[in-house]
Symmetry: C2
Subunit: 196 residues, 2 copies
């Protein structure tokens, strides 16, 4: 059935996946709906059977990713009480996500600001929530005398961005698995906060 010129019915998931790839590569404003249509071998108007519009695609991508990050964080740290254990688990989950959902991470980081209001503010608020949760762990560790860092805020920024960068260079066919990278970045994070 998979012969040349075949006609695969387009689905919402396929449109979203194509948007994800193109937004990640060319940016939201650098991608035309005609390119998404072309990659799916349909005409642009046909896309409107599977999406609300260009903004809708971006919102779906961003919302799904930021809520996923928050869910990851909650699941990873659930039940843990030691600040070291919590930081390790939180960073590991965050780094792992950036290796396994590279396109999503790139789009969220570059294009969340291209969302129309009120969605932009909503999504930025959700991102801040994760930011604060990570910082709280570091502050907790400092207070408990387990971490040694001058500014928890700076350490938190540094750790976050370090993880985000994984999305930009990780390759599935590279020399390291996502797990290995996540482990190594977790070690970096523990070193940054001076864990002992």
């Amino acid at each position: 059935m998979t012969r040349t010129g075949e006609r695969t019915t387009v689905t919402s998931a396929a449109v979203l996946d194509s948007a994800l790839t193109l937004f990640a590569e060319l940016g939201y404003h650098g991608t035309a709906l005609s390119q998404i249509a072309e990659s799916l071998e349909v005409r642009t108007p046909s896309l409107y059977n599977h999406m609300r519009g260009k903004q809708g695609l971006l919102l779906t991508i961003v919302r799904g990713t930021v809520t996923g990050v928050l869910d990851d964080f909650a699941a990873a740290t659930d039940g843990l009480t030691d600040p070291g254990d919590k930081l390790r688990a939180a960073v590991r989950a965050y780094a792992l996500r950036h290796a396994s959902h590279r396109r999503e991470a790139i789009v969220v980081n570059r294009d969340t600001s291209s969302l129309d209001e009120p969605h932009r503010s909503e999504m930025q608020e959700l991102r801040r929530r994760h930011d604060h949760a990570l910082r709280a762990i570091i502050e907790e560790g400092v207070t408990a005398g387990r971490f040694s860092v001058d500014s928890p805020a700076l350490a938190s920024f540094a750790i976050r961005e370090m993880c985000v960068s994984v999305a930009r260079w990780f390759r599935d066919d590279g020399p390291r698995t996502a797990d290995q990278v996540a482990d190594e970045y977790t070690d970096f994070a523990m070193r940054i906060v001076g864990s002992r």
Copy 2:
């Protein structure tokens, strides 16, 4: 002479500065030349007396920044032989630049890929050169038994992106000076590589 409705003659530098601000805020593809013109209180065609075109603005920004990064690196590490000293100096210069040239850093990181060929490849090559130089210091330190890190490549990525992130949150009117931030990030870098 600075009364309302005044007519300040537009210069190339003014066009570039306005482009820098708008590209950093809205992205290259998200910025229209009409917005740059509006911010300078002239009509769009007038811009062409001071630039080659939109691509020319982007190239000027990117080229100036990446060569500046390379020059910073050379000046900072010149004459140093100890890997610890070299890494400290290189990271300090890189972090400092991201605090003091925020807009440039944001544009280079987000929009270098929007450059037309052959400039895109040229600029990416220059960025790689800095990348390799930083990594070489780490490898040197590991070989000399001064640093302790599993993968110099991963550590190098982590340190670079950590510095880049400074451009995204640093404020001149914030609680920390650029120097203080650079110092703290340098310490983070030394911790990441396990300097001893």
